[in-house]
Symmetry: D4
Subunit: 148 residues, 8 copies
């Protein structure tokens, strides 16, 4: 058995690397959004031409990013959604909703102080983790029957 | 033609009433989540028994609320998602993602200062409004061909 | 808002009547399987002709019952699955799995001593109730915002 | 032609090994749930932290197991559901219902004394077998046209 | 509960009338293909213009008939497929296959001498009847719990 | 039986009125896009604010119109797509493709000189008509068995 | 590009071999039902035990064959359905209907004298061929742009 | 990550080659319709026999081409739709509609003078490009995070 895992959400800490490293010996294929914040913000205008209006600057970029994001979620067996410390992270919650409507298995990786605010997202998830290590342990267990 | 419209998101201002009032003469059926904040938070334990752990207190409630929320979105032609001033509102973004994966027509109603943070949600929407009045005008136009 | 609710499972106690009576003033349409045990067992051979082999006797009946059961679950917003004291009740668990794959909102109504055995079914449910009264309270809350 | 076969249900006898061994020369990919009973029961708390309440202990575990189970059923061409001697086995019936709603080909492997109780599950199946050997023979026939 | 029933197949005997009459007091909505053989054969050229080639004559007609047939099957809860004495009746078998892939409940109404030739169709059906009366009895039982 | 019919395409001649009038005694519910050309072009900026760039002016309007168009096609049993004399009419062909992927019954209403250019659209249609009268005759036949 | 092609229908002439041989240099994966008539008729009882009643003898076999048939059609890009000289061939028409409802590309391979009787099947097909050679030519053209 | 990209639309300039060449080092699998105009027009009659009526000449060809086109769009992650200078190009717009209803990511490649006429197609797209180079840059960014 192999697993396709999409790592959605926060792009400012190394949580993806922690999970990928901890799963290095497992049959998991990881995918993620573009994690270069500047490129992600500017891809639309960089490729398709500048916009005076910030709304359309952002809109062009977000749509190009959606090509990758949608494909990643649709092809995944498991979608891990990370909520970090900074920013509003509505894109992470959007991805969780998108994944939920598609019937994907969702693992939420978040901080204790966000517990109440994430209750609707947790209600759609199969696991609520505090640490990247726990996500890796879940994937290992699912693939190998082994508990930490 | 009639329209089913689900009004998702912020529950602390009267935006729903403004839209519903402005559409009073139209063939629109509105639905929304439970908008009594206290009831929404406590429904799980009030009905199914208390929990020591706040996570499960919230989980029980969020799941019962999901019965209404999912049905509302799934039955809607149009999902309006309101992002207000307060709270993290991940449930609103989650609903937008859920609606998007189901192919629903999405109207986002938000504040100018949230524009950049909402770019992924806007990219999945058919309209981005600043005022409830605009949402009502869209619904009126869609149903009657009349512009304001 | 109205709700379509399918009442699956045990047919030997009055749990359905309790829920229906408690919701008499609500906009709920209830459906259920045939609850006449003898008719349910014998419908196949009574209509389509006797079978020597008990397997086919049962098979003919179960297939005719499936016409009603499938339609009931597929048309429901909410599927309540009741596990009672007697019998193996694999049909109830089958209905829960069927409803889950269709993305229906599931409420499990069961007895405390079955908790461990039902853990996979509970994991797919939005509520786990012990009493018919609680199911009615959930439906009332979902439709009216009112807590008991 | 190759077949993906998910082996659901009882985890206390060697029926899976019998089938897998008998199909060793065929192009079949087998998958199954975690079959280590203790790990399966405790995976939730072992990875995500202890729970005082047995319900949540079980709920956390059952949800993690669902990551594997759902993926296994959704990716399968054929779902074999085994009902054994012990336990209530509602998870097996749940899996059968889940597979049925997804339109999977279902083979039930059960004991003669459970025939009547399984009639709704049998009605959704394409084959009702008493012995693992028969399941293997079906798979061999489907793949190679050869009868025993 | 009400049922939508599509009556597919043979158009040269009064089997539809028998079923409809026998169900006159039940909450069933019946639909069927065009049963005027000549109109059914010629509708294409009568409306859209003559064709020299019989293939296209038939093709134009069959496509117009498909507007009604597809809608009828897609909207039905139950599809009854009648195989009569005459003609090749590939359209009836086609309808059965179409209904089966959509997950509809299928009742086959046929003659004993066609049993072997219909085995693949019967394998996809929930009931195999010999007489229109039996079909009506099934619908009555499904709607009212009453056996004949 | 009733039919839902969506009338897509050209908005500069009275073909819709001709069909609707000719079907006045039939159980058909017609829907169509906004047919006020100016309103259709400007709805986006009229409601949501002006745009300097014509691309975004059009984009805002086309998205609001999509709320109506998508709903109309998704709710239809039959989609009639009219190609007229003027303009490029890519929206009509787009609607035909959209309807085709959803499995809708498509009737194309076009002019003889467009036959070759429409061959891919005709290949997805169940009827190719030259006159509104023929469309009405098809709907009448489908609903009543009567040929002209 | 590669194509998955399911060859449904008649099993008494070498039409499958003709097509497969003519496509030997192409990237096509062919699948088909069991073509050993005796095995196909008896597989149910040979594996799962004898039946006194011919209906159940056939039913058991047809259901096991359905494991292969359904998988074959569901995995195919193109379904070729062959109607030959002998037998009623309702299984072939059933497969065509099943494939049509799944949106598969259908090629019918039949005899001129069956043209009228097959009009509903032809109406759902993308090509109507008289000779296996034509089917092979279609597959070659689709894969390589080359005409005969 | 790899991407499947279908290149739909105009077949008279080298835009496909430009994109394919510019993506030569990327993990992209490209597919396209038959781009030999004469073969595409005549494939139906060349394989299945001549037709006197041009409509059926075209119809036979367009249906065979649909085998390739549908498969290409259904298997794609991204559908690029090119509108060129010549012809009515309703097939391109049809493909865009078809892709949109399937939820594919759409990139439109068109000319500035067609902007207004393409507004409904643009409204369903994730990117609107003027040059093949931009399409290649989008694919490169989606696969590698690198901007030009």
């Amino acid at each position: 058995m192999s697993l396709s895992v999409y790592l959605s959400g926060e792009i400012h800490t190394d949580w993806r690397d922690q999970i990928i490293t901890a799963c290095a010996d497992l049959d998991v294929v990881f995918d993620s959004p573009v994690t270069d914040h500047a490129a992600s913000d500017d891809c639309g205008v960089a490729i398709l031409g500048a916009e005076d209006n910030k709304f359309w600057h952002d809109n062009k970029g977000a749509k190009i990013n959606a090509i990758r994001t949608r494909r990643g979620i649709e092809n995944a067996d498991v979608v891990v959604v990370r909520f970090g410390e900074k920013y509003r992270q509505w894109n992470a919650a959007f991805d969780a909703g998108y994944a939920s409507a598609l019937g994907k298995s969702i693992i939420v990786l978040s901080m204790p102080e966000h517990q109440h605010a994430l209750k609707e997202v947790h209600a759609a998830a199969l696991a609520a983790a505090d640490e990247p290590k726990q996500v890796a342990e879940i994937l290992r267990y699912v693939l190998t029957d082994k508990l930490p």
